[in-house]
Structure formats: C-alpha cells, structure tokens
Amino acid sequence: MVPDGAGLFWGGFGYQRAPIAFAQELVRQKKRDLTIYTCGSEVDLEIMAGAGVAGRFEIAFVAIEAIGLAYNMRRRVAEGKVEIEDYSNLAMAMRFLGGALNVPFMPIRSLMGTDMANKSRYRGDKKLRVIDCPFTGQRVCLVPSVQPDFSIVHVQRVDQTGNAQIDGIVGEDIEGSRCGKKLIVLAEELVDEAEIRSRPDQTRIPAMYVDHVVVLPFIAHPMQCHNYYDYDLEFLQFFHKMTRKEETWQEYLDEYIFGVDDHWSYLDKVGWERLNQLRAKRPWGY
C-alpha cells in the first residue's frame, strides 16, 4: 500500500505505542527511499534505518533513551546512506499541527540562535525561517507544516468504522494522525461501535480521518502499549546489543524480520509465555 519514495508520519513517542510491527512489515516488503517524519522514535527508526527502507528522516531524536545510543542510525549516517534533517520535538509537533490545520507554517520560539536554525541537510531555506513578528517586532521562528502521504498511528482500541481511542499520553499523535493524506490506524483491540459512541469524549481519532485499520496484538513489542503490555526490557537490551555491529544487526534482521512470515510468526518466535508475562497490571497500566 505504501509506495517506494513515500513520506510517512510516524506515530508513538519514546517507548510508548511504537508501530514496530509496521516497520518490520515495511522491511519484509523491501520498501525503499521512504521519508520518515516524527518527533522521537527509537527501535522502529533503528529498524528502518538499519534495513535501508528509509533514507531521509525529519526528526528530533533517535536513541533507545535509557538503554543507549542508536547504532544503526549512527552507522548509516556515517556511511552517507541516511540524511537527517534535525528539528526539536516542539518544532516537529508544531509542523504536524500546521499540517493538520492545513496552514503552511507554524511559529515557535525554539531553534533560534543555534545550528538547528543555521544548518540544513537537504531542505535548504525550506527548513525554517526566522522573521520579525509584524505585531510585536520580536523574532520568531516559522517551521514549515508537514502533510505526508501517510500517517501511521498505533492506538489501543478501534471500532469497525475506524473511531480510535488512545489511553495514556498522546505524544504528537493527535496532530500527526490528522496531517497525513491517508491515515493507517494500527490497533491492539477491536471494539464495537456502540461502545465508542457511548463514550464519545474518549475518541481521540474520529473515523472520518481513517483510511485503513489493522488490528493485531503486541504491535509495539519490544516497546510498550499503555494498559496492554509493558516493554520487554531483556529483549530490548538484546535488540540494542545486536545493533552494535553491522554483522550482528544483519543476523537480527535475518532472524527476526526476514526470517518470519508476518507479525504472528514474529510473536510465535518471541514466544507467547514471554509475551503474556508483559501484560499490563491494574491500576498501573504496565
């Protein structure tokens, strides 16, 4: 469905609701030359950069946070195979907000005075513009809105028409889900439309935005999904170790991504006893 060369808003934030299963499927389908737009993603960006499906990233952050640095991304950048156009988290979130609002830019008060404003990888003078505010005379930074071909968002629950609920933090997914030309929603659970319509305050993404829905369990493994499952710390550390060198990364790729037919086979390989131990406990949500 996603053609080579497409631009993708990539949902989830930090360890939360990362669309890992979708990244792995893009790799299996050997997609190429994608551009990824997100604030900060981690294992998913490592997979896409490492497997060569995406060559351009407009992002604020890539690392596995507390676990460590992003080795795949580091190697690909050093090799010149990946270009990163650097923004801050607020800048990216505002670029998605601008895209969702269908205005060409949004004003922010970050980036100014630093190399974030002075240097650009490939956008040149379309990276941002610092202007004097016509009302106050103050300097303000305009960041260009993003309206990518697809938005990929991972949520907890969806109904058969596409209405989606998100539990816990939303990160930049409200704006991100509305900025893409098409929206693909990945959900852990299918619920009935009547359930959604009895609590409309809880709907974070109304069906009118949604083009495609995929329902699968453990979409974020080894990351977490609030109220559904915790991260798999041991697997995460294993993943991180395997990315350290190109050879071990290729081993991981062959075994856990190319070596399985689909997400279900991946989950079988990880093992259901292990997965079930990750299930969230009340009232904590992890």
């Binding site: 507390a66 640095l69 933090i169 949500g285």
Partner: protein, 257 residues
C-alpha cells in the same frame, strides 16, 4: 560520611537544585533520577512533568523513557507534546529543566547531535529531542554530564541547544523565553555562570578532587573564584532512596559501588 559512587554523587548533587513546589522537566536518565530524588526528599511538591505528556507525575520507580507508563499512575494529567512543550514550557511555566550533553562550551551552549563536521559527521548522537526547546524556554537550566575533558570544548562541533550563546544580550536578541543555564554538574565539580560575562565559572569541587583536576579537564578558560568550596556529599538516605527508585540498577549500575 556515606560511601557513594560517582553516579550517586552526581544525582544527589543535582537533586539539591530542585526547590519545593517548582515545575520541573525531568527527561530520562540521571536527570530524572535527580528530580525524583528531590521529590522524595526535600521537594515533595515539585511538579514533575514529562514532555511526552505526563503532568505532576510520581512514579514508583524510575521510567526508562519520557513516555514510559511508569509515569502514568497517580499523575494529575496525561496529555501530549503540544501541551508540555508548548502550553507549559514555551509559555514560560517551567522553573527548571535538566539536560545532558556530549559537548559544552564556555557559554553553556550544548551539542547533542553530531561529533565531527556537519557535512560528514563522524558520529550521530541522539539529536535535540526536546533539548533545544527546554534550553530555549525553561527559566533555569541544570546541565548534568560525566566529566571528560573532550566534552568541555572551546568550539562545539554543532550547537544543538542554546546556553548563553555569544554572551550578554544574545538570548534577548533571539527573544528566547527562558533564562538559560544556571549550573553544570559533573562527577568532579559544579560550575555556574558569571552574571556579567555569562561565562562558565567553577562553583564547587567534589570531595577527592582539586581545582587543578578540574582545570586539567576542560578545554576552555574556566573562571575560578578566590575561594572554591567543597561540594556537599550525598546522605545515606539519598543513596537508599535512589536505589529504591532504580531497583534494576539501570542508571546506578547493578552493584552497590
């Protein structure tokens, strides 16, 4: 006197910079541990905010990610980035933000993005994340780094986040909302900034180190006041609370010292 590791010292020292009732951006890693330690000791009413969207969080154990569900239960609101980085931070409502860095210069400007030239970077680091936003807009910035001479440079390879930029008046020139860096804490010393020149200045040296040790481990001219006190040590209580907050030793290491 308690026995402590360098990391424990760093976290305990940083935690003292959080005042009770403040709005704090903790991030992850050591800064978060420091903020949580403050909340569990002298600053119980600190409002701990994660840029992912958690407000007034009180995690039982230290989250590994700014979006970690460990931030959720018992927080007062769970929203998103526009809320935390826009409505809260950019609006000037954050009293203190914590940041780390791979390189820092004498004005407290930070690099968390590239080592080597921008055109052909040798090493890609994590990037800004919310770092540039926090450095631009938090009222006070506390920088935490492990001390390594190569990190304290005359000229950054890349300026990710603004410190005092080129000195007095530069933050105002860009209409930046926040006040910029207040203190830099390493496992060797604390540094603050000269109010006139905005240049980095030695503030206190940790027990076991001398002023010369510090001077040997920075690549710029560090202002040294006439008298440099010794930094206060962590208490036994601080160390115990830290380990309760990091039961798996993700930040503190598996072994007690």
């Amino acid at each position: 006197m308690s026995r402590y590791t360098r990391i424990e010292f760093l976290a305990a020292c940083a935690s003292r910079h959080v005042r009770d009732g403040e709005n704090v951006f903790g991030g992850t890693g050591l800064p978060l541990l420091a903020a949580l330690l403050a909340k569990n000791t002298h600053a119980p009413n600190a409002n701990l905010i994660s840029e992912a969207g958690f407000i007034d969080a009180m995690p039982r154990e230290v989250p590994l990610s700014v979006a970690d569900s460990r931030y959720y239960y018992g927080c007062s609101a769970s929203i998103g980035l526009i809320e935390t980085l826009g409505f809260i931070l950019q609006a000037g409502r954050i009293d203190v933000g914590f940041l780390g860095a791979a390189q820092i210069d004498e004005y407290g400007n930070l690099n968390t993005t590239y080592i080597g030239p921008y055109e052909a970077p040798k090493i890609r680091l994590p990037g800004s994340g919310g770092g540039n936003d926090i450095a631009s807009s938090a009222k006070r910035l506390i920088i935490m780094m492990t001390h390594d001479k190569r990190k304290f440079v005359k000229q950054l390879d890349h300026m990710t986040s603004p410190g005092h930029l080129e000195g007095p008046g530069s933050r105002e020139r860009w209409s930046l909302v926040g006040g910029g860096p207040e203190v830099v804490i390493t496992d060797m010393c604390q540094m603050d900034f000269d109010p006139v020149t905005r240049k980095i200045r030695l503030m206190s040296v940790h027990p076991g180190y001398t002023v010369d040790d510090v001077l040997d481990n920075v690549m710029f001219d560090l202002i040294v006041p006439d008298s440099v006190p010794t930094t206060e040590e962590p208490t036994q209580e601080q160390i115990e609370i830290m380990h309760r907050l990091d039961p798996h030793g993700v930040y503190l290491g598996k072994a007690r010292d």
